[in-house]
């Protein structure tokens, strides 16, 4: 296992455009192994686009992305697939396969990539279901039978199926009630501790930022304008950052700490 603190995701000089609309221009970001990094920014600043670019779902118009020190675009198909198993992704609404139960969803990567007995797969699925804080009966349910919060937890269980090194979360607490959101933050912290995860967290949720993130990266003006701890954010004089971290909602979130 590689050391804590070394760079695990390196984004260098990314340009992203949709037609004439420029989303990212010369964007740099480095994520260190073992940290929880929160990505914040106003709507339309391309937080989710950045996530998709790192995952290789969207090709940047210029620049380079390296994860685990590997440039995925130059990798042969077979090796790329093997390395993709080293990360897990939770999409906004869980993105569970609707024709499969939760347990079967969790088992998809096992069946696809490994050779395990059904018995062991059932045990592992049951453990993952319990690990993300779902009732064990949830394994038998179909995604349409779950509430939004449960779907997110089930999506997290599937993302964790292969014990990834990096966990990507796209607005995990959006649409959850405050209690559910707080429980989810706690779950992230707990999993990070026990599994030694690096977490890449795209969020709007100030409470989440306070509760889970080691560092925060602010996306604005088409690139990352500041990376640092909460205290760095509070000290920053940049108008957008100041407004974000000193607004009425931010004060409330801070007061709660």
């Amino acid at each position: 296992m590689a050391k804590k603190g070394e760079p695990i995701i390196e984004v260098e000089g990314i340009d992203t455009r949709f037609g004439d609309h420029v989303i990212h221009e010369n964007l740099d970001l480095t994520v260190k192994r073992g940290e929880v990094i929160g990505i914040v920014g106003g709507s339309g600043t391309g937080k989710s686009v950045l996530l998709r670019t790192i995952l290789g779902l969207k090709k940047p118009d210029a620049g380079r992305v390296r994860v685990f020190g590997i440039d995925f675009t130059t990798l042969p198909e077979e090796e790329r697939r093997r390395n993709e198993q080293r990360w897990g992704v939770l999409f906004q609404d869980g993105a569970l396969f609707s024709a499969l139960t939760v347990a079967e969803n969790i088992q998809v990567p096992y069946r696809e990539h490994l050779h395990l007995s059904q018995q062991l797969m059932d045990e592992l699925a049951a453990i993952k279901v319990a690990m993300v804080g779902l009732r064990d009966t949830a394994g038998a349910l179909y995604p349409s039978e779950l509430s939004g919060g449960m779907r997110k937890r089930a999506g997290l269980a599937r993302a964790l199926a292969l014990d990834p090194e990096i966990l990507f979360l796209d607005e995990p607490t959006a649409g959850l009630d405050p209690i559910g959101a707080a429980a989810f933050d706690e779950l992230i912290n707990d999993l990070k501790e026990t599994l030694g995860l690096t977490v890449f967290l795209v969020t709007h949720d100030l409470d989440s930022l306070h509760a889970t993130c080691d560092r925060i990266a602010v996306l604005a003006e088409k690139h990352v304008i500041l990376v640092g701890t909460i205290d760095d954010m509070l000290r920053s004089s940049h108008p957008w950052i100041h407004e974000y971290f000193h607004g009425p909602r931010a004060r409330a979130a801070l007061a709660g700490k």
Binding site: L100, L116, D122, L124, A126, T137, S144, L160
Partner: protein
Amino acid sequence: MKDVRQTGAALAVRLWRRHIGFFRSLSGGSRRLTAEIGGILAGPGQRRDGGERPQGAAACHIGIENRVLHIEATGDWSIVHLDPVDRELRAVTSGEIEADSAVIDFSGISRFDTASATVLERTAFFLGERGLKVDLKGVNDAQQLLLDKIDSCGIPEPVRVPGPPLYVEILGKIGETTRAIGNEAQGMLGFIGGVMSAIGRTIRHPGRFRMVPFVHHMEKSGFDALPLVCLLTFLIGAVVAQQGAVQLRTFGAEVFTVNLIAIIFLREVGLLLTAIIVAGRSGSAFTAEIGSMKMREEIDAMRTLGLDPMDMLVVPRVAALMITLPLLTFIADIMGLIGGGIVVQVMLGMSPAVYIDRVASAVDFWTIAVGLIKAPFMAAVIALVGCRAGLSVTGSAESVGAMTTSSVVRSIFLVIVLDALFAMFFTAVGI
């Protein structure tokens, strides 16, 4: 070093077993697996039987010494290499054990993850259940953290009642379907009533009628359907004429091909074809449009703004289709006759003037009227079924797809049933 908690170990093992049995019973019995997802589950990686174990992969050395069971785990215990050792350990815990205590040695493990923690924790539990005193040796801090996590997860509630016997399930299914049909018939009747009263209101207050959507739907379901309807009925007309001419020639009665085309098209085929095309084109569109509005809560928004979805969405569609379907049917009749006429000219050498003359003598007013009278009724059925299916959509995107399919199937079914009823009626009144 860790002692497995002897107290409560038996209970935990029992829970483990239920827990596992529960998931196992699921994997076999999933009936909703669609073909493509079934493909995912039976993916290429499924049958990759590992021959030689790679260097450094997980291994366990098992031996009994002085009635002490030694399990020494070494190598890379990550999930990739776990299957063989999992089978070995399962064999140990389910076989005869001539020992009073067990020692599981973790110190040789190079890689450890939740899956290996699960397997070893389970092994310890099962040995505990067999009355052995279990020691975990050489566990480092990170491994201990994972083991504790797995331990805290393994306390599921007992679940899973076995399903009912097959005959009960079959009877239940029949009952459910019967009830669903009854409910649906009742719902449809209520819906027709609702539309009727909305039409009545519109007639009393003509100002409420939505002219713009009415014209829009006439264009979309009528005018835009013209090319398709024309082409298909033209081709069917030609095919019917060709087959008819070949068969009738054996009796020397090929002249009557004209009567065959004229009567079959004007009375039945022109309308049926058009109705089925429109059901597939416009009926499904009605369901999809209204269904996606329902899904995005637009229908609820309408109600809160004091607008009646019946007036806004249903009445214009029903009215538009009731006007366009007879028109389309008339054009379809003409196109069928033209298609037949061309075949007749080519095969029998009959000139267009003679053909028109013979068609005119073969049909009377009622031949055409029978076809056109039926059209508005079929239009009403298609539009009502389509709109009702759209309004029955529930929150999800899948339900829009399901309702669209069922709306097309139902409206085509009802169109044909209705046609049969009309045939009986016209026979009874002697037309």
